[in-house]
């Protein structure tokens, strides 16, 4: 006979306000198998937990039900308490009478009745709980970092410095990410490349870091501590071992007018190219889409149309026939740091976004986005740092900066604040005024969001010291009128329409997650929000973990982030990974499936539905060692506990521990509506 203790929490007023906790206690008191009931203000508090422990000891309880909040909140807490009191922790379950009851109902009678039902159901479940032992699995102490921007670099360096190997995968030809494109960084105005480049080199040269650029994650199998990751090394057409980065191939390449991604379209590159001079590794990649030779091959020309780079290469490193290759890495933990892209607000839009016809982006050449302005302001950019407008190369005397383009605009598909625009707009206005002393910098803003160390001072400085004109109001239209770009705005403070004849307009467009993040998330079994940002496991308490154990998230792929945030998150993931790697074994919940060999007929339908390949066929022998058949066997190290095998088993020969048929059957029965 079970001796179950039922503990009803008031959660302050959170449960008690709508659920009559005393009535629930009373109702459970005489329930068969219940040996102890108690209600308490805060069961999760220390005295609350003491109460549970004492009751276990005093009453020799065989099971514990805590009727309180969601098990996602405090199941661990109470299981630990049971463990400390000498009760197997898997004999403890939670009845969710807060999220699923008191918070969603108003009527006290209904809520109380439901709370009783919920609690009784779990009591019935616990009667069939079994004392279980946790599972121990080995940990591969190697980390994978996806994305080689500042967040990925930082995470890789922290883990590598901690003494563990890191595989760093970057889809572009060089690491560095968006930070390498920036001119100067707020709020200190230090040169972005000057602080980033040493980190890039350090990552490249670190003995513990294995770098794969021009590579993507193809497939991820396994689970925490034991991932197998397949990486696609895209055909670079340049042998990384042979290339010495001399640049002769670029010199020789005849296709010189390809818009450079690094220059945000404001400069050109060749078809075989190193994205920027400080690239790491300093090894070019051949852009087959734009290469004369490959264009010819696609047209079916019998003879190669070019070959100048190969001719120019003294190391014979160029291989036109190179193909994508795949490598597999054994990995224990994964950090996702895939960063962001800017919302391109032109007419062509991906699903769910609308673009801004009224702002003329993509149609008026002197309407540019923030990243393009970074390149204009960058000493290494296409204008060598001179602010010159794209249409005619003249120095603009009036520049309008528009905040919140795309952001905070639920109509156009992005409801969130992109967080960094207020700061970089202030920076842009400053940089512009520093370079064009007689110029006019006008910024249209809705609110100035400058929460951060030195941030508000910085944005104030743009106004107070550098004379940027800040106008509170959104812009309605931007269009070209002869030589000027007309900006129709409104000053909500002086209550008047404002029309500015600008020479150039810079739009602070929203930050969006990179394309392909949803697909990557699917490979990793992590979830994304409606915008495609990767979901953290808990918005406050587990900000760098995901809902898949062993997968962590850093930087702007989780939400709009500035550099300090991204770096802090990266180091946090580093700490998480190092702590995971600090033990040789991991302890896991014993929620695994177990086969009843006596009734299993070995049809292997279970193996067909197992997403983890955890089930194999195993021969069974008679007493004298003679093989007499086969049954299914579940590898507990690989099993993740979904229970799909159990549902397809016709003979009911698999049981998922912690969710056994008997437990569920009892729960269904407890909800029996016969009165």
């Amino acid at each position: 006979m079970s001796r179950i203790g039922v503990f009803i929490c008031h959660c302050g007023e959170n449960i008690g306000r709508t659920v009559d906790c005393e009535a629930v206690t009373e109702a459970l008191k005489d329930h068969p198998g219940v040996a102890f009931t108690e209600d308490y203000k805060y069961m999760c508090s220390d005295p609350g937990q003491q109460l549970v422990k004492k009751a276990i000891e005093d009453n020799d309880l065989t099971g514990v039900v805590v009727a309180a909040c969601s098990p996602h909140m405090h199941e661990k807490t109470f299981r630990r308490a049971c463990d400390q009191a000498g009760l197997n922790k898997y004999m403890c379950e939670m009845a969710n009478i807060r999220e699923h009851c008191s918070w969603i109902h108003e009527d006290r009678g209904e809520a109380t009745e439901k709370a009783v039902d919920i609690t009784r159901t779990i009591v019935e479940k616990v009667k069939h709980n079994q004392p279980l032992e946790s599972i121990h699995i080995p940990v591969t102490k190697r980390a994978l970092v996806i994305g080689g921007g500042i967040a990925g670099i930082q995470a890789a360096l922290d883990i590598a410095d901690g003494g563990h190997e890191v595989v760093l995968v970057e889809k572009e030809a060089s690491i560095g990410g968006h930070m390498s494109q920036l001119s100067e960084t707020f709020p200190t105005l230090d040169c972005s490349q000057c602080i980033l480049t040493p980190r890039m080199v350090e990552a490249y040269q670190h003995p513990n870091i294995k770098l794969h650029t021009w590579s993507e994650v193809e497939k991820v199998d396994g689970y925490i501590g034991n991932f197998t990751v397949k990486i696609r090394k895209k055909a670079r057409s340049v042998n990384e071992d042979l290339c010495n980065g001399c640049g002769d191939c670029q010199e020789a390449c005849p296709a010189k007018r390809i818009p450079s991604e690094f220059e945000a379209g404001l400069g050109n590159r060749t078809a075989i190219y190193v994205p920027f001079p400080q690239a790491v590794p300093n090894i070019p990649v051949l852009d087959r889409q734009n290469c004369t030779l490959f264009k010819g091959r696609r047209k079916g020309l019998a003879k190669d149309a070019c070959g100048k780079c190969k001719e120019a290469c003294l190391k014979d490193a160029i291989d036109y026939d190179a193909e994508d290759t795949f490598i597999e890495e054994e990995i224990g933990a994964i950090v996702v740091a895939t960063g962001f892209q800017l919302y391109s607000i032109g007419r062509e839009q991906p699903e769910g976004l609308k673009g801004y016809g009224e702002y003329g982006y993509g149609e008026v050449p002197d309407v540019i986005d923030g990243l393009q302005f970074e390149r204009l302001a960058s000493a290494s950019g296409p204008t060598a740092g001179a602010i010159l407008r794209p249409s005619d190369g003249k120095e603009p005397k009036t520049v309008v900066f528009v905040h919140c383009v795309g952001s905070r605009d639920s109509e156009k598909g992005i409801s969130y604040c992109s967080k960094i625009c207020c700061m970089y707009n202030a920076k842009h206005a400053m940089l512009y005024k520093h370079k064009v002393h007689d110029g006019r910098a006008v910024a249209f803003y809705m609110d100035i969001r400058a929460a951060g160390k030195g941030y508000d001072e910085f944005s104030r400085r743009a106004i107070e010291e550098d004379g940027a004109e800040y106008i509170r109001g959104r812009v309605s239209r931007i269009f070209r009128d002869g030589d000027v770009v007309k900006v129709w705005g409104y000053d909500t403070l002086s209550q008047e329409q404002v029309v500015i004849d600008a020479d150039m307009v810079v739009l602070a467009t929203a930050m969006r997650p990179q394309d392909g993040v949803r697909e990557l998330a699917q490979k990793l079994s992590v979830s994304t929000d409606e915008h495609g940002f990767i979901n953290e496991a808990h918005p406050k308490l587990r900000p760098v973990e995901t809902n898949t154990a062993g997968v962590f998230v850093a930087g702007a792929c989780q939400a709009p982030r500035d550099i300090p945030d991204a770096v802090a998150m990266a180091s946090a993931t580093g700490a998480k990974v190092l702590s995971l790697f600090s033990a040789d074994e991991l302890e896991r919940e014993p929620a695994v499936a177990i086969v009843n060999e006596n009734t299993c007929i070995g049809c292997m339908n279970c193996a067909k539905v197992c997403a983890y390949g955890a089930i194999e066929q195993r021969e069974i022998c008679t007493v004298d060692g003679h093989v007499c058949g086969h049954v299914a066997y579940v590898n507990p190290g690989v099993c993740q506990g979904c229970g799909t095998c159990q549902a397809v088993c016709l003979s009911k020969s698999v049981e998922l521990q912690t969710f056994t048929d008997e437990q569920i059957f009892s729960e269904i029965n407890a909800l029996c509506y016969w009165e």
């Binding site: 007419r347 016809g357 009224e358 269009f479 070209r480 009128d481 007309k486």
Partner: protein, 335 residues
């Protein structure tokens, strides 16, 4: 093509008769049957919905109900204001709680809200391939060939997007497509969707002059020779009021209904298109365009003849050459 129910609206029976005339002429030419809704009534225009939301829905709904009862599934409302009111009513009845139930009682007729509403630009855009073919097949030189025309959509054709929705609200292209189909050159200008002052034509003429002036100036600065409209309000604001807003010595800017433009391209007589009814005289423009077109055609003909003559001469030469060439090639080989 099957007939559509034609809702001319008050303007097309009055101040914008030329829109009605040119639409009928062009529709006949394109093989589109128009059947005027029997006993149609005014849509209420802005006065209706400005005064009372329900009235603003019920007045247009009466006409939708008539079209429905007369067996149509599409109503053509060329006047942009009527189009907007009819579409808005249709949407409101479909989406707002209780309206659909209320309507039969208010109208005194059953009403299932089953009729689609189209505007003239939409109709012509959908027929643009036919227009292009017909223009090409017209014997007379196309006076619009290469002429720069500014498509002016104003408000009511494109906004609100939920109501209209047949084109992009900020950068619409439908009327530009029709302009292109007529062989003319659509001007990329900035005031396509700005308001002309609409219903304030009578009550706040000064506002209309200010707004209309900006529109005409912008079109002119982008090289437009005429502005094409599909809204009687826009037309009257830009045409009737143009004299009052013009500065001394300025060339007047003809304002043409989109149907008139198509009619011209199809070779219809200006008088049949009501082009004589405008306040800004369209005669000089049309005369100039016709003259240009004639010249162009003559020049093309001449060029063609010259080319043909040259080709003939070349062929003649080649014939001789072939005969000579054989021996020449042999000669080459021999060398």
């Amino acid at each position: 093509m099957t007939d559509v129910a034609y809702y001319p609206g008050c303007s097309l029976h009055g101040t914008s008769r030329e829109f009605d005339e040119s639409l009928r002429a062009v529709a006949a030419e394109l093989g589109i049957g128009l059947t005027e809704i029997a006993d149609w009534s005014c849509c209420g225009a802005s006065s209706g919905h400005t005064t009372d939301h329900l009235l603003g829905v019920a007045l247009p709904a009466r006409n939708l109900a008539l079209a429905e009862a007369q067996g149509f599934d599409t109503v053509l409302a060329p006047c942009a204001a009527c189009y907007n009111r009819l579409s808005a009513a249709r949407l409101a009845i479909a989406t707002e709680d209780g309206l659909a139930e209320q309507m039969p009682d208010i109208l005194g007729h059953p009403f299932a809200n089953s009729v689609d509403v189209h505007n003239a630009v939409e109709l012509l855009r959908d027929a643009s391939v036919t227009i292009e073919e017909k223009v090409a097949a017209t014997l007379a030189p196309n006076p619009l060939e290469g002429v720069k025309l500014a498509a002016y959509y104003g408000c009511l054709l494109v906004r609100p997007f939920e109501v209209c929705g047949y084109d992009d609200p900020e950068q619409p292209t439908s009327m530009d497509e029709v302009i292109d189909a007529c062989g003319a050159d659509d001007v990329d200008w900035d005031m396509k969707v700005e308001c002309c002052g609409g219903a304030f034509s009578v009550s706040r003429t000064a506002s209309v002059l200010r707004l209309g002036r900006a529109i005409i100036d912008n079109a002119r600065s982008h090289g437009a020779e005429a502005i094409i409209v599909a809204c009687p309000l826009c037309h009257s604001n830009l045409d009737l009021r143009q004299k009052a807003m013009a500065q001394r010595g300025e060339e007047p800017m003809p304002i043409l209904f989109v149907t008139q433009m198509v009619g011209l391209a199809l070779g219809l007589a200006p008088v049949d298109l009501g082009l004589g009814r405008h306040f800004v005289d369209t005669e000089p423009l049309i005369a100039r365009l016709v003259q240009q077109a004639a010249k162009r055609v003559a020049a093309e003909k001449l060029a063609k003849e010259e080319a043909a003559a040259k080709a003939a001469a070349r062929a003649e030469k080649q014939k001789v050459g072939v005969a000579a060439g054989t021996s020449g090639a042999e000669g080459g080989e021999a060398q």
